[in-house]
Symmetry: C2
Subunit: 302 residues, 2 copies
Amino acid sequence: MDERGALALLDSELEAVGDDAAVIDGLVVTTDMLHDRTDFPDGTTRYTAGWRSVGASLSDVAAMGAEATAAVAAYAAPAFDEAELLAFVRGASDVCAAVDAQYVGGDLDEHQEFTVATTAIGRTDAPVPRSGARPGDRVCVTGTLGRTAAALELFERAASADGQEATQLQERANDLFQFSPRVAAGRALAPHATAMMDSSDGLARSLHQLAESSDCGFALDSERVPIDDAVLEVAADDAEALELATTFGEDFELVATVPEESIEAVRDATNVSISVIGTVLERDDGITLDGESLADSGYTHG
Amino acid sequence: MDERGALALLDSELEAVGDDAAVIDGLVVTTDMLHDRTDFPDGTTRYTAGWRSVGASLSDVAAMGAEATAAVAAYAAPAFDEAELLAFVRGASDVCAAVDAQYVGGDLDEHQEFTVATTAIGRTDAPVPRSGARPGDRVCVTGTLGRTAAALELFERAASADGQEATQLQERANDLFQFSPRVAAGRALAPHATAMMDSSDGLARSLHQLAESSDCGFALDSERVPIDDAVLEVAADDAEALELATTFGEDFELVATVPEESIEAVRDATNVSISVIGTVLERDDGITLDGESLADSGYTHG
């Protein structure tokens, strides 16, 4: 059984399992596990690892349209190095502070591979589901896409570079890896969005998941996809940049469907850029990008 | 830096880190990571692993005197076997149901070693600290001690037994491994207890931690320590049984200090047995068992 099959099995077993997070009486809970081999490339600082792993769970809270309350992390490593541990905690605390949540610590475990399990908690009286998109709604994306794809390319370049060049590449990659969980944007979208989720599996896969939950189709315009500048820099050409921005994933932006008449209200309510990249169609219309079918391809979390 | 040093470092870094769990505006949060090598001996079923790992976090909620609301788990394994995954989820769901909490799912991750990270959430307006024990209070323990020590011995015996005998030993060990998180007893103790924690590091170490937090000493009576029948069975003699019950740990019972006049009220409020095993003294009196100094020895979580 692969991970998607296993997740589907779990969903069918558990009543309260929500979309990006579970919701019980307004309390939002979500947990994630990340580890060295698949999630933290060589050169990732422990500060970035703390920021990113806790941020991934906060992003799930954001995707429900909830406010973020607190986060914890279980930190497992072969040994506990004081500087590394403090850097991790500072990254975790800083990403919580960035979304007005509190980092309240966690557990330590000796483990062969550096592994982090994070849980974030939030609160909302009106969670935004994945199932409410209606034909005619517009498709919105927060921020820019492709930062993680660019970061991984820079981490790789750093690995084959020397001295100061390697250091600079790593620093840029770490900066790109520290994303802003879209809690505030999620709160701005929540009163208007008919469906919402985060883009952690890539834009294409997120749209396929929204289409399945909402029983709808999508038509997207590639010129409106907000490609991060860093992707344009590392990609061979515009086509590759678009491919990375739409399928690579792990960007933790929000993908939401919003009635046309509410777009302005959403934009007025947040400082985060909101790009309108397409329109919700009927299910039979499929999912298209510039009129071509958009495959359900993207990152599968390891 | 060893794990205790690392934990002390974290405590000093983070404001809201509580005793057994963090508390933010009445919301109680605690997380734990367990893994194959140190926590799940050969023969542990996935049902037991689900029960025990989620139960460990629920026990931390109980130790704050809080009610339990929900739990999540991140499940990591080299491959996802449907029967194993379902058994895990059922164990996790059943232990939540046993304490009126809801198991709301979690995350899956591919990982070389079977690893589980659990988070439990609770609620209380008056968390019981570790720091309030006063000379003259009585020392109480819920349930019985030594179940885990006995379970590990039975798992070992099963490993060198054959056929039906091995199966029976494993079944008994799994039963002993499925402890009841003391949420209801914690609620009964909470209005009266001056200090409380769980016994996951063993009774001796728990008392040393309470003594440090409350700046007190303890005098214990070995005849009153509630040794589980299973320990008496596996131990060579009574002395070894007492040693296992007081130092082995991982039993997840509650250790609390309660004024003499409130003991009856606590007992009236819960079905769980409450043993009075000693008295709180001044710090200078040290920690003694039958008049002999009780060492700060016990299980250090791997």
